[in-house]
């Protein structure tokens, strides 16, 4: 299989997930709702936001998430991805002090030992926290807002996607150069 799977194959397949979930059971495509369902299942602690019936509203989505895990595992076992990004991007990363290359994520940031370094802690722990907080606040992530919401021409999703990029560009051009200096 060619790597990466070309965008004109991957994009349309991802787009078809939206009608597929509607046709199966009138469900909206959106991964980050699962964080809310998991909080409700694990530690609702009387918080209003987690008082919903997560089994009734979220079991299908948690099953979808289990599918993602299984599909990703099978795919990486059958045809492991080997990432070679644009030379300009690699050069820029070297320029700000990132020397690791290859693999899906730079090992100097994403390994068990890196958790004990500032750069690893910020990338994994702070990064993950912001993903969880931000998607819950915005009511959606890349799937719910950038794909389903934009496809449905919903204005709030466009505002959210502009926010995604404002945040992403700030991390890329301000936070990462500081973190990797």
């Amino acid at each position: 299989m060619p790597h990466p799977l070309p965008w004109y194959v991957a994009g349309p397949l991802i787009g078809l997930v939206v009608p597929a979930l509607l046709l199966i059971g009138n469900k909206p495509f959106g991964i980050s709702s699962n964080f809310r369902h998991l909080c409700a299942a694990i530690a609702p602690c009387g918080v209003d936001f987690f008082r919903h019936d997560w089994k009734q509203t979220g079991l299908w989505n948690l099953t979808f998430l289990a599918g993602i895990f299984t599909g990703a595992w099978l795919a990486s076992w059958l045809a492991p991805p080997s990432v070679h990004i644009a030379p300009a991007a690699m050069a820029a990363l070297h320029g700000i002090g990132l020397h690791a290359s290859g693999g899906l994520a730079p090992r100097e940031l994403f390994s068990w030992t890196s958790l004990l370094t500032l750069r690893g802690f910020v990338s994994v722990v702070v990064g993950g926290f912001l993903v969880g907080f931000g998607t819950a606040y915005a009511g959606g992530c890349t799937s719910g807002h950038a794909i389903a919401g934009l496809a449905d021409r919903q204005l709030p999703s466009l505002v959210a996607v502009l926010g995604f990029f404002a945040g992403g560009l700030t991390t890329t051009y301000v936070v990462l150069p500081w973190l990797l200096r």
Partner: protein
């Protein structure tokens, strides 16, 4: 409710995320640095295909078993603060982890097990939002 179809669609989605390298921190950096079309092509064509599908579903007037039209919930704009602020906070984290929620899960399966910590941290983030929700502007 029959759950198997959701599992199957999820598995296909997870496989595509992996093979198209959407789950790679490097691909996300490449995107935010505007050094390649790959991620824009994926998101753009996904939006177009999903949009056309929604139009067809609407034209055909398709309904679910209970007679409810197949459609996505309309998000309420309100002041818009939640979308701008929440979106920006997510974006900051997206470029740090190099992964949005689906890829975070996929990466654990794809050989970056430390992402389990990022997932646990994401749950903590969502929990804190739930706790602070009554006091945050929306």
């Amino acid at each position: 409710m029959l759950l198997i179809p959701y599992f199957v669609v999820g598995a296909l989605f997870g496989a595509v995320l992996t093979e198209a390298e959407v789950i790679s921190w490097f691909r996300i950096q490449e995107m935010f640095r505007f050094d390649a079309f790959h991620m824009y092509g994926i998101i753009g064509s996904a939006v177009v295909v999903a949009g056309l599908s929604l139009t067809v579903i609407k034209r055909l007037g398709l309904r679910d078993a209970g007679g409810v039209p197949l459609a996505l919930e309309q998000k309420q704009m309100g002041s818009g603060v939640r979308y701008a602020a929440g979106g920006t906070i997510f974006g900051l984290g997206w470029a740090l982890t190099g992964a949005c929620p689906g890829p975070l899960v996929a990466l654990v399966a794809d050989g970056v097990p430390v992402m389990l910590v990022a997932l646990a941290s994401a749950l903590a983030g969502t929990w804190l939002y739930g706790y602070l929700r009554p006091r945050l502007p929306h």
